[in-house]
């Protein structure tokens, strides 16, 4: 019985910690250390000029990105405004690298589980947003 109570206590402590982390005040600040390597910057998008791919990218954006970045990409909470000049100036290669790796300590998940071409579709669509 004591062990069950201790285990239940452990669950409560972890749940409380999770709630506390979730309730922290968060707002967007660019991460100046989240830099793609040289090899990623110049990587060309194999789907450039493919209008169908952009439409598919829009669909993917609404499925995976819109919840944090907003349907218009302007950002919610501490997620980046994808229409900002800081983001739009970045090459498709940089966006592909960022989508692939994420920035886990800042809340951006890795989307390396998506097929490579879908990640290029997302990069393509983000550049069409503004």
């Amino acid at each position: 019985m004591k062990r069950s109570l201790a285990a239940a206590g452990l669950v409560l402590v972890i749940a409380s910690l999770a709630l506390k982390v979730a309730a922290e005040n968060k707002s967007y600040h660019p991460d100046l250390h989240w830099l793609a390597p040289e090899s990623a910057i110049a990587r060309p998008n194999p789907l450039v000029g493919n209008a169908e791919a952009v439409k598919g990218g829009k669909k993917l954006f609404h499925r995976y990105c819109a919840d944090c970045h907003g349907a218009d990409g302007k950002g919610v909470g501490r997620a980046a405004n994808l229409q900002s000049a800081d983001v739009q100036i970045e090459s498709d290669g940089i966006l592909f690298w960022k989508i692939t790796n994420g920035n886990l300590d800042r809340g951006m998940p890795s989307f390396s589980g998506l097929p490579e071409l879908e990640r290029w579709q997302l990069a393509l669509y983000i550049h069409k947003m503004n």
């Binding site: 452990l10 598919g56 692939t100 890795s110 589980g113 998506l114 097929p115 879908e118």
Partner: protein
């Protein structure tokens, strides 16, 4: 048997949830993808066992609540039960798992450390992982349920994503705190990929981009008392996942027993629903800035 049908109906009445293509189709194998921070994933799954002679069919449903605490920390609570034909239906226990990703960036091989505490009875039959020697599928529930096990489990998860494939290897170590059984070992390997590599321009439900398929292998490797393949259960299981909507998915896997100690077939079905941004909603409730 009637109780099995009742349990199946209850599971079927739960709100359905489809898989996101980012979701893994595996039931047993873990890959390195963590739950997105602030998201809550609710999954209801079941393991259905086809018996050998002298055994009874069983239906073992379980519910998973998975929360992305941080980008590199995912926590998950399981509630488990089972219903055995010509026997009884029982709640068999719970487990709490935590997965931590030590490296922030993607690498060729991505390790994840997994820690779990289980408080389950020996009647538990979900077979979320197979460790040690073959589980007892013959004794009645009344007898098995008297033996409560508190166990610690560790996994080393290694996972890669070469060319749209996912290849994952899990090495499992389990220590029963309630009985002196030594440390038990197990493994799980999986390979899967989406059926299409690009998203089509129009919304669709049954197109290939919403499906992923693969295969997983899992089994026990004995314990520190008797290491090896003797008296162990092993399975080969094709897996299929269908992303039903943007935040829900269905999974199915028939697992075929490879040894005499394995069940001939373990059918696994699961439905996953993801609540996005729960963390932000909680932040609003607790007075933080969303």
């Amino acid at each position: 048997m009637r109780k099995i049908y009742l349990a199946a109906v209850c599971i079927g009445l739960l709100p359905a949830m489809p898989l996101r293509s980012q979701e893994s189709p595996y039931f047993v194998t873990y890959d390195h993808h963590m739950e997105e921070p602030g998201n809550l994933e609710i999954a209801t799954s079941a393991t259905i066992g086809v018996p050998r002679a002298g055994q009874h069919a069983f239906f073992a449903p379980y519910t998973e609540l998975e929360y992305g605490v941080l980008g590199r920390w995912t926590s998950e609570l399981y509630l488990e039960g089972q219903s055995t034909a010509s026997d009884s239906s029982i709640f068999t226990g719970w487990r709490l798992e935590n997965r931590v990703r030590p490296f922030e960036r993607e690498h060729w091989i991505n390790p994840v450390l997994y820690f779990e505490f289980e408080d389950i009875s020996e009647a538990d039959k979900i077979q979320k992982e197979i460790v040690g020697h073959s589980p007892d599928l013959s004794s009645p529930n009344g007898e098995l349920h008297r033996n409560k096990n508190r166990e610690l489990e560790w996994k080393l998860i290694l996972s890669s994503n070469p060319h749209d494939w996912n290849i994952s290897e899990n090495f499992i170590f389990e220590k029963n705190l309630s009985a002196n059984e030594g440390v038990e070992f197990g493994y799980a390997f999986g390979a899967s990929r989406p059926l299409a590599s690009m998203a089509t321009p129009n919304p669709c439900r049954l197109c290939r981009e919403n499906f992923s398929a693969g295969v997983e292998f899992y089994g026990g490797l004995g314990s520190t008392r008797q290491f090896g393949l003797q008296d162990t259960a092993h399975y080969a299981a094709p897996v299929l996942a269908w992303q039903v909507s943007d935040n829900s998915s269905l999974r199915f896997s028939p697992g075929f027993g490879l040894t005499h100690e394995s069940a001939p077939v373990l059918f696994r079905v699961g439905y996953v629903y993801e609540i996005q941004g729960l963390g932000r909603k909680l932040a609003q409730w607790f007075g933080g800035t969303p």
